[in-house]
Each structure stands twice: as structure tokens, then as C-alpha cells.
């Protein structure tokens, strides 16, 4: 069983998507470690270390995602989590922006996969299976 850490980063309290992602991933047989809303980078990193997770799925809905995710990849590498897959989704920037350029920005920040607003979680499921070789 694959272990994935999910949570909502920063000062973000959007809980609905997070609860639904947990439900769907569990149904699909993942071991889901949900650290919930208002989670810091450290919370994600600690959870991933403690549970030996293969992937970290960061949600950011409220618009500050770009700031909250700064150096997350670097910090994960430093914590020995360089191999862990790193996804981000939600409404990760402020405002309606061209998604291609948003994706580029986050990929440069070290994210393996970047999802546009309202992404159906089933899509990420396929990617996850592909990336984790399930």
C-alpha cells in the first residue's frame, strides 16, 4: 500500500477539497496521511518522514500558494525527501492566470505535477499510479 501525505499549506483553511481527497484516495486503496488545513512546510516534511511516504500532495486554495511553497522542494531535499513525489493543486496563485505559466513557475520550484483549479481528483489518481508504479 502506497503512503501519501495530503494537506493544505499555509494560513489556508479550505477544508472541503482536502476531506474529499482523503476519502477518494482511501477508497482507492492508498494509505492516506491527512495533516489537514493550516499546515506548515515542516508539518508536511515531518509527516512524510514519520510515515515514509512516497508522495506529498499539497493543496493550496486561498491564493498564497506561491509564497507558502517557496523552498519546499529544497527543504524536502535537505530532509532527505528528495525522492518523494511532490504534487500541488487547488487555486494555487492569486487570480485567474494563464495556467501554463503557473505550471512552469511551480515546476521550476521543483514540483513534479501541478494541477489547475477544480481538477478532478481521478486525474491525479492516474498520475499517482503512474509515478509510484502501482
Amino acid at each position: 500500500m502506497h503512503t501519501v501525505v495530503i494537506g493544505v499549506i499555509g494560513a489556508d483553511v479550505h477544508a472541503v477539497g482536502n476531506k474529499i481527497i482523503e476519502h477518494v484516495l482511501k477508497e482507492e486503496g492508498f494509505n492516506v496521511v491527512n495533516i489537514g488545513v493550516l499546515s506548515s512546510q515542516e508539518d508536511f516534511i515531518n509527516a512524510a518522514i514519520e510515515t515514509d511516504a512516497q508522495a506529498v500532495l499539497v493543496s493550496s486554495l486561498y491564493g498564497h500558494g506561491e509564497m507558502d511553497c517557496k523552498f519546499l522542494k529544497e527543504n524536502m531535499i535537505e530532509a532527505g525527501l528528495g525522492h518523494v513525489k511532490l504534487y500541488v493543486g487547488g487555486n494555487i496563485v492569486v487570480g485567474k492566470q494563464d495556467f501554463k505559466s503557473v505550471e512552469d513557475r511551480f515546476k521550476k520550484m521543483g514540483f513534479d505535477r501541478v494541477y489547475p483549479p477544480g481538477t478532478n481528483i481521478e486525474i491525479a489518481l492516474n498520475d499517482l499510479r503512474e509515478d509510484l508504479g502501482a
Binding site: 472541503v16 488545513v37 485567474k96
Partner: protein, 492 residues
Amino acid sequence: MLKNKKLSREEFFEIREKIRTHWHTGSDERLDFDKAVETLRNVPDSKNFAKKLRYAKENGITMIQPRAGVALVDEHIILMKFLQNQGGADFLPSTIDSYTRQNRYSNAEDAIKESEKQKRSLLNGFPAVNHGVEGCTKVFESVKVPLQARHGTPDARLLSEIIHASGWTSNEGGGISYNIPYAKNISLEDTLRYWQYCDRLVGIYAEEGIEINREPFGPLTGTLVPPSISHTVAIIEAILAAEQGVKNITVGYGQCGNITQDVAALQTLDALTNYYLKLFGYEDVFVTTVLHQWMGGFPADEAKSMALISLGATVATLGGATKIITKSPHESQGVPTKEANAEGLRASKLITNLLATQRYPSDKVLKAEKEMIEKEVKTLLYATLNVGKGDFVQGVIKAFEQGILDIPFAPSEMNKGHILPARDKRGNIRILEFGNLPFDDEIKKFHKNALEERAKSENRDVSFQMTIDDVYAISRGKLVGNFSKKEPLNEN
């Protein structure tokens, strides 16, 4: 032990001194009480939120207000004036950013600097505390209509001081409604205490003859909240505010999607708030209502979003709401541009104008819906009062502990999160799992029957999958989440 009791002036002013030290802008001398009173006395009627609401209600007008806020003062002023002039906003907001909401003023400071550098707002709102009375007054002086702070701040004491001292005559929030949907592990005791302060501030201004409006945040998580639950919270927060001396209160409600349920909710919200305020001894409170256009996930498509916005304005006007909080066609994507925001306003304004003299007809179904809401609210309210041994503050704390009050999809650990909502066949929001809600069998049966009727028509069981489907439904263009049905002659 915190109680629902008016703070004395002494207590209040003692706390006030401390609050002002939370960030350097608190030391601004325009926050000295006498100066602030003078500022507020000079607010013309046309820019007084409370008075304009009074005018609207007395004339049966439904007014409109957007959400909006950006990092920098000058940009924010441009935004406000645009929404006022190009959007026709009757009231202006200043939506506060999420760092400020969590009192992370130094995070906000960084983001302000970064926004100045990048020449675009990196904040999702206006950091009013960082800009202080200086910045907030500049905003106030730039606009023609009343201003309100809209946020989601558990501890908004310094924020509230700053905005009111800048001439902003309304403040959104409450000890429950700005905790349960907006925090993870802040105790209710803390937020109720913080909001007693914010209310008392308004009450003390009232003692000086200055009318300021307070608005509990009605929609809570915005996600399939049954009307009776949000009503109960709104009514309790109105009572708590009234106790602190607030005289002008707007109770709110988030559009559900079934027009009859929405109208029933708006009508009962007004009636019940007035009723219970009087019942508990608060005689001279002026109550208005606000409908929030659909607060859950929006469709990605802008045309569909405009339709949803228009439908929200339609139920608000037909239901006699005093105010509408509007959405924009960018809702599903991100903080709207000022243009998109104004589109939502203008669409709403057309509807409030066209339907100005029209009201929703009353029939048996509407009456039954209203009766059910009344009964549920009564049950929840009395159960809360009961566990609080006659005190609403203690009641609220215990009621949430025990799941007597329970809000679906809330992030707060103070909330049981045991109840599950789902829609019935006609799109009314009903309750699928009651958790510890103290409802009697008649009420429970009513909800169960409604959901079973739907389940039957969809040929499936009543289950959590229904709730999930309903969370997605409107964003996928339906009201009742049922995505399996194939329609032979109706592919489009």
C-alpha cells in the same frame, strides 16, 4: 468563566491598551478613543453602513456588495472606486488577506513589499492592520459609499479598532462564524472573548450616539450547510452582539439553490432573529438580512457563473433580503479582476432592479419549509442554552463539544464534524447523518424521507457518495448530484 455578559467600560479600555501594542500601527493617535469618536461623527449618512441598511430595509430595496481587496493602498483604492462606479456597488467591502486573518502581520509586511516589487498583489486581500489608520482612512476618503471589513479573523480586535477609527462603519464576523470555518485549533472560548471585544467596541460607539453595523458571517463553510444550522449560529451571534450593545445587525445566509428553501430561509432568518432578540430582552436592535450568492464550488465556465450569480440575486430579491454579497465569473479560478468583479455586481443590480417590486408567492410548500426551519432552530437554540445552563457563551462552547451544534466540512477541531448534509430530489439541503444534533423523531423522519425519496428516484442508496456528489454538483452544472443518469433524447 466567560459568560454572555456585557464588558464593562473599564475592562474594555484595559484590554484596548494591550491590543494597541499588537502591531506598531496600533499606536497611531487617531486610535485614541476621542479622536476615533470624532472621526466617526464626521461620517456622512450616505457613508454610514448602518443608516444605509436602515434606508434599504425601510424602502424594501435589495442592495449589493462585492468582496474585494488587494495588498497595496493605492491599488485597493482603484479597485474600490471601480466597483463603486463601474459595478454600482451600494456598499463596499475590504476583504482582508489571510495572513492578517491569522494575525501574521510580519508575513503580511513581507508580502506587501513583495507586491510592491512585483507590481501585482501577492496577497488575497487588503492587510488593513499593516496599513493602519493612515491607509484605511485614505481608502475611506476615496469612496462615496459605506465601507466594511470582511475577513474571517478569529482575533480581529486590533483590526476592528483600526477600521472603525478610519470611518468604516461595519465589521463582519463573530466568535463562532469566524472560528469554526476559519481556524483549526483556536478554542471557542478565545474567539467568543475576542468577538465580545469587537462587539463591545461597536456598543461603546453606540453609547456615543454612533451607529455601526455588525454582520455575523452567515454561510459558515459555504458547503451544504442546512439553513437551520447557520440560522442558529447567526441568531446566537446576534444575541451576543446585542448583549455588548450593538444596535444594528445584519444576519446572513448562503444561497442553497432551491428557491423555495432559500426564500423560506431568508424570511425565517429575519423573523427569528427579531423574535429571539426580543425574547431575550434586546428590544431596540435593527435587523437586516444578507444573502450570499452561492458559496460553494463554482462552475469553471464564466457564462454559467453569471447565471448562478443572477439566480442568487433573484432569490435574494424575491426573498426580501436587504443586501446581497455578490460573486464574480472568476470565482472558480481565483480572486477576480476588478472587471470580473464588477460584472457580478452589474448582473446582480439588474436583477434587484427588475424584481424590486416582486416577492415570492407563499404556498403550502413554502410554509412547511419555514415551519421546519423554525422548529429546528428552536430545538438547536434551546439545547444550546440548556447545556450552557442559561448562558449562550457557555452553551456554544459545550454545544460544539457535544455536537449539539455541528457544521459540515469545517476545518476546526472544536467542531465534531459528524453531520452530513445531502440534497433531496428538489435540491433542498437535508441532513443525512445527524451526529448529535438534538432533533426529535419528527424532524429526523422528515429529512430521512426526503433523502429516501431522492435515493429511490436515482435508484441508489442514501450514502456519503450523495454528499460528495452534491459538493461537486453545482460546479458541474447541476443542483442535485446525480451523474449516472443517461437521457436518451437529451445528450446535450
